[in-house]
């Protein structure tokens, strides 16, 4: 599979939030305003990209040679948790301004399904390291696209007359459903039509 195909697959065809429901909690929780949504999106993209490469390396250089593949889940979550902690410290040291902007989102990312999800999907799909890197970045970009669109919709929704029972989360889910409906326009035939498969 070419890198462009992987990019299109994870951003549009298998969008992490709208098609696979990975990372839905922050998607609903942090999409109330667009500044926060962008912060969350950038942090997640950063972590999915780095985590994809690191978990790939851990799997193929540590677990496979020792035939400990069954420890995949346990190892990956520990690697991701320490990675997030490390990133937090590095960013705090290098760029206090960036830390100010992203700091509050980083701890939430450890328990974001999207990060563990992409790490496992990379292994299931037998990607090589460059493909894993692309997939990690694309998954994060798809997440960012969805959460930023959603935050803009919710900012508009705040000004709309919504029935009381639907205010807040229910209308957010329904808007996400309508977004998912429009994302159904992207399917495997997109790749065939662009001669990528």
């Amino acid at each position: 599979m070419s890198y462009i195909a992987i990019l299109l697959t994870f951003v549009f065809i298998n969008n992490f939030i709208l098609v696979q429901f990975l990372g839905l909690c922050p998607f609903i929780g942090v999409s109330k305003n667009s500044a926060n949504a962008i912060g969350m999106g950038v942090s997640v993209t950063f972590v999915t990209t780095v985590a994809s490469v690191v978990t790939w390396a851990v799997y193929y250089f540590l677990l496979v040679p020792m035939s400990l593949e069954y420890l995949q889940t346990l190892t990956f979550i520990l690697v991701i948790a320490s990675l997030v902690q490390l990133l937090e410290m590095v960013i705090q040291k290098i760029s206090p301004a960036l830390y100010q902007a992203l700091g509050i989102y980083l701890p939430l990312i450890t328990t974001n399904c999207a990060v563990l999800g992409i790490a496992i999907i990379n292994i299931t799909n037998n990607y090589n390291v460059m493909e894993a890197f692309t997939a990690g970045f694309a998954a994060g970009a798809g997440f960012t696209l969805a959460i930023v669109l959603m935050s803009n919709i919710r900012e508009k929704l705040d000004l709309m007359p919504v029935r009381r029972a639907f205010r807040g989360m229910p209308i957010a889910f329904i808007s996400a459903g309508l977004m998912a409906l429009s994302f159904m326009a992207f399917d495997k035939s997109l790749l065939t039509n662009l001669h990528l498969v």
Binding site: C25, L74, A81, T111
Partner: protein, 208 residues
Amino acid sequence: MKLNMNELTKGIFKENPVFIIVLGLCPTLGVSTQVSNALGMSAGVLFVLLFSNLLISALRNFIPDSIHIPAYIVIIASLVTIIELVMHAFVPALYSALGVYLPLIVVNCIILGRAEAFAARNTVMDSILDAIGMSIGFALGLILISVIRELFGSGTISLFAMGNFDGVIRIPWFYNNPIRVMSLAPGALLLMGYLKAFFDWKSARKKG
């Protein structure tokens, strides 16, 4: 020992993890295309939640405060690995149907949330009741969503095959007129929105 039944029942409606606290959405929406998957997922969550609450509340005085989250994650991830291996060995069809959502039980907010909010500061007995109540609440939510999605989306109710019964109940009228979108991703989100609105309305009315 007196059993605190309130810990058991609160998870079923008043603090239902799916509809009231809205936790653990990824598996709820991801595996709810078929009732059999929902049942498998509920069993997995029951096992992991029960034993994580039990272990964490038993160890709550030994785990140092500064590393409590990593410690909880290790306990939860080991339990998830056990359930993965068991399902792979005994119900391979269910294992592949649940796919990536099975290892993702590790990051299911319900489990870490209950460990942090309940098991870390309550007795073992209360934590077990809390885990059972929360799992029943999660299972009911998941089963409700999956029954609606499968009924409207494909007109069937899939259970597990036993003897002559192939495990799939076909509902006459719906089977010929399925609303396909219900079993696809948008249907799950739309249904979740309407159910959440219903439960919000219901609990607002209860409060008066």
